[in-house]
């Protein structure tokens, strides 16, 4: 029996109070699931030749929850001179993407655009080949190459520092650069790197040291407005029945990044105005 039931105003108030607490709880849940976003873009250009400089390291992140990303910074449009540029930073993994084109190079004469990807800052040749293959596959799926006959779109990806999850960071940087360049494509790509531990725990966006005891992992990229996958890169040794829950988890994590990417694009439009 509600003690305020006899006073109409108080009954109303208690109802409001309930509603308010409900929304507060909802908000807390929502905020805790949102990625932490660092708003200031700080590419330490002066230190580029000294990547292992201690000043490049962000403070150690205390224990994160399984669904939380490392502190991230995404920026659409970094340089004015390029046709398109984007920057993404997840913890200590930093990738810069620049696009030149579409423009004719005098040689390419097919009825569709040629998309080339150059990777810089990765030493290991096998790794370069792997990254390039995955990124070319993921990008050629979204760019409308038929709209640019006889043109070349040159994408230069510079890995400034690598601390795990380079592929997903690079895909994020390139999708921002693509948005900045105005090249027609199907939509933004959201991508997340997730690893699986022996005991079945997931880790979202692990750094190199966090991923040490993992039995495998996956980099998953998809276009949210189509709901279609553009890149799957699974590695390690994962039991068959654990693969689809892992992919689904990675997809959920990629969805969580979408607002951050949208915000970066909106900010770049504002700046341009």
């Amino acid at each position: 029996m509600n003690i305020f039931a006899n006073i109409p105003f108080m009954k109303y108030l208690s109802f409001l109070l309930l509603l308010f607490t409900f929304f507060v709880i909802l908000f807390i849940i929502f905020v805790s699931r949102m990625p932490t976003i660092r708003s200031n873009l700080s590419i330490p250009l002066t230190h580029l030749n000294r990547i292992d400089d201690v000043r490049m390291e962000t403070d150690d992140v205390e224990k994160r929850s399984a669904t939380a990303f490392r502190p991230l910074c995404v920026k659409c449009g970094v340089f004015g001179a390029q046709d398109g540029s984007g920057y993404a930073e997840f913890g200590n993994t930093r990738v810069l993407a620049q696009i030149t084109g579409p423009e004719g190079d005098g040689k390419w004469e097919e009825a569709y655009a040629k998309v080339t990807i150059t990777l810089k800052g990765v030493e290991n040749e096998t790794k370069v080949a792997e990254l390039r293959a995955d990124m070319t596959s993921s990008l050629s799926a979204v760019i409308f190459v038929n709209k640019y006959p006889g043109k070349v779109i040159d994408i230069e990806v510079t890995v400034l520092s690598d601390d795990g999850g380079v592929l997903s960071t690079a895909i994020t940087a390139v999708t921002l650069a693509l948005a900045h360049s105005g090249i027609e494509h199907m939509g933004l790509t959201a991508s997340a790197h997730v690893t699986l531990r022996q005991n079945g725990d997931y880790i979202t966006d692990p750094s190199t040291s966090e991923a040490e005891d993992a039995i495998g992992g996956v980099t998953f990229a998809f276009v949210p407005n189509l709901g279609q996958t553009t890149c799957v890169n699974l590695y390690g040794r994962i039991p068959l029945k654990a693969t689809s829950p892992l992919l689904e988890f990675a997809r959920q994590r990629a969805i969580a990044l979408v607002p951050a990417i949208h915000k970066a694009v909106v900010n770049s439009v504002k700046e341009r105005k």
Partner: protein, 314 residues
Amino acid sequence: MEVHISDDEKLFLIHGVEQDIRNDGRACADFRPMILERGVLSGTNGSCRVQLGQTTDVLAGIKLELEAYDPIAEKQPKQPMSFHVDFSANASSQFAGKGGDQYGEELSAAFQVAYSRSLDIIPNLSKTQLAAGYRWKIHVDISVLQWAGSVPDACSLAIIGALSDLEIPEVDVTPDDGGKVSIVLKRPRIGGDVRDEEVPVAMWKLIVTSCPMLLTVSKIGTANLVDCSPEEECCIRSQLLIGVAKNLESTPESDDANEYDITCVKQHGGGLLEMESIDDMTKLATRTAKGLYEAIGNRLNTEEKRKPGHSFLL
């Protein structure tokens, strides 16, 4: 060989595979007839040639190297295999000049990923670790001599064949001065009046029943296909490279889901995919792998040894 087929032919093919009938009469999950022969190159420690559907022709050769490494820098034992895929310009005009280099590098990288945990997967591979600082390095070189679709599948079969053909010498490791070790080939004394150099070196072989396989599963229309012919490769919407390895620790009576591990999945050559498709395609890959493991197991057991010193060209 470049394939040019008209839109109508493509449509016919796509409608066909959606009904589970392919132009050559196979069902979607069927492989073309294949030939596997081992011991084809005398200059290698292990070799294998695989022909798929009479036209895709792949040659794999393995060379062993005794490698010294720094045991302090490398605490975790590294996977001893390295892969290199080379596309011959004779295979297809698209590989002429440097045309095949990029695809070759990508494929080598994919094999590297698929075999990255092979120390856990192949039961006696850790025997290549001889002593602290010394190990056998296994270089796998694959040449694609002819191209007619599904090269990764043919390569992975050739790799398994070559690994099963590979003979690794047994060695004696004895401590030496300065904390080093001396490694000597093991020659079991058989008695009689034979000089030491003439006694054959004892050899051991890898257990290949659980080697990872890299299979391509392609989406054409709404159907998933394995082992695509060149005509079918023109109609592919998207393709997954899936690495499947048998899990030897699982009990045989358990269901398929426990029996296989996925070591690699890569989306290849662009295209968009639904989440559910990825699931279906991995399931198809494991089903295919089951059949392939059986077929390759039978072949490796029954194959007759080739006369030493003769290549398959003779």
